[in-house]
Amino acid sequence: MTNEPTNGTTRRGFLAASAATGTALVAGGAAAQTPDPLITEVQEWASGLGLGVDDAPYGMPIHFEADVVRRNVEWLTADVISSINFTPIHALDGTITPQGCAFERHHSGAIELAKEDYRLMINGLVDTPLVFTYEDLERFPRVTRTFFLECAANSGMEWAGAQLNGSQFTHGMIHNMEYTGVTLRTLLDEAGIKPEGNWLYVEGADASSNGRSIPMEKALDDCMIAFKANGEALRMEHGYPVRLIVPGWEGNLWVKWLRRMEVTDAPVESREETSKYTDTMENGTSRKWTWVMDAKSVITAPSPQMPIKHGHGPLVITGLAWSGRGAVTGVDVSVNGGKTWAKARLAAPGQEMALTRFYFDYNWQGEEMLLQSRVTDSTGYVQPTKAQLRAVRGLNSVYHNNAIQTWWVKTNGEAENVEVS
């Protein structure tokens, strides 16, 4: 009936207790004074019966994990329809994002589009403009690949300073899924691209359309459509039944509910690549077509939503690293705000344009820490500081903030989003 330990020590109780006494437990090292009733007394779950196999045809996480959910930040946008929410990356581990809490970004809401009603058109500079049904798409040779999708605006609120207190909010416009679908090369070959077809304009079936222009070279290199993610159909809010996958490039290009691909000889310069997703520099001119998401990392725990609750001793410092330029080859961690760095351990070798999990096993003795992570990718690019980025771009570029994040871990184990000199 409750997930709290029976001795009455809650997370808050622990923090209050250790603050009050000024002492901390040595995790795992203290000898028990009295037998633990969770062991010595027969618990209800060890005697009675659990739920039957017909209880949950499609299960949800256990209710103890109710805080591992997407969160909205009301003041960021005018309404909740053209808006954003955030993946609870602080509470996740590994690299695969559960679809049910993977962030959403819509411009005219999450639409309901049945497979029977779905149509994909290829037109423009092609030999034969084509219309596909969903059934048609399932008959093409398939590929399965894992990639991160990061919103161009991820961390954008942090350009001017430390604003939001938690990795979910500062870095949670991201998810990482294993996609199954068909390469654009396969689909476009079916229509036959004319030689002057250098660009591909892609748009969704929703009212916003989210039209974007993609150079044909990228489209034919590694782009794909997906109808499965993490083994099952796409979620409605992620583009069911078909979305575009644009590995390593800003999330806005990953058009959901994809309905049309037009081969053109020039970019359309749509709203989403002129008014939005252009990056204004200090002198007032703006970059356009900033497609690639640069190498980036963040420590997900400890972090403001993940205070250290276990006292001194062994501490797992962990986080995520990724690069749209290639694979993560290494992550360095600093506990002193960047004075010194040490190599973290990668849970698995970095994959091209996919999230990589890192661990840094640390013996914490209650000292204040200024925690930072810094990724290097397979092109040799090293994640910059915010000061380095600001020196090039100023404060108004809105998008593409891949700066090193600092968490100030206090002596009581709580953490805060800060900037450091």
Binding site: A162, G211, E262, T264, S270, G337
Partner: protein
């Protein structure tokens, strides 16, 4: 296994009516514009009816809804105001976006002449045309917005990559570290879900 033909023969040819129904994008050179026209006087009425509840009577924006006019010469300042007049490079984009995606919640309900008139009113609200200027498929592509030259193609490969691919410092990287900014000072983060208990 049998040899696979170059093409799988999946899908069917798209009909002209189908392409016309979905291929509505308009490019800076005017390609894609349907025949039609409208001026700001007509546009003002449609705008008042269909757009002003969010974007304001003068396209100045209501609450957090987008401002479509104003902000001239603010792009190099703190908190630039980016509008059609101050920021957008091409009128074609205004036409295309209004035509396909506005009004918010009732997209694709405007006739081409309505869209020309609304776009003319937005230009007028930005002091870029007189109220009797007739915008049409003939002249839209020739109309130049103030910030048409304000964009350049992603140059990170030359302005950032070289300095960000230098070997990383591991030891004695700086003498001192001071906290210069705290997120909790702003206190704009939503509360912890468990605080509602």
């Amino acid at each position: 296994t049998p040899a696979m033909a170059d093409k799988l023969g999946l899908g069917r040819a798209a009909l002209p009516e189908e392409i016309a129904a979905w291929d509505k994008d308009v490019r800076p050179d005017g390609k894609g514009l349907p025949v039609g026209s409208g001026d700001a006087l007509v546009g003002e009425e449609i705008f008042a009816d269909q757009c002003a509840s969010c974007h304001g009577d003068f396209a100045e924006g209501v609450d957090n809804w987008p401002k479509l006019a104003g902000g001239m010469n603010t792009l190099n300042r703190e908190d630039p105001l980016k509008t059609v007049g101050s920021y957008w490079p091409h009128v074609s984009t205004v036409w295309d976006y209004v035509n396909r995606s506005m009004p918010f919640g009732a997209a694709q309900t405007l006739a081409p002449d309505d869209v020309y008139a609304i776009v003319a009113y937005i230009l007028y609200s930005n002091d870029l045309i007189e109220d009797d200027f007739v915008l049409s498929n003939e002249n839209l592509a020739d109309f130049e917005l103030p910030n048409v030259g304000g964009f350049f193609v992603d140059d990170r490969e030359t302005t950032e990559y070289p300095q960000f691919s230098a070997p990383a410092c591991m030891e004695n990287c700086k003498d001192s570290v001071e906290i210069t900014m705290h997120a909790t000072v702003l206190d704009v983060t939503p509360d912890d879900l468990t605080d509602d208990d």
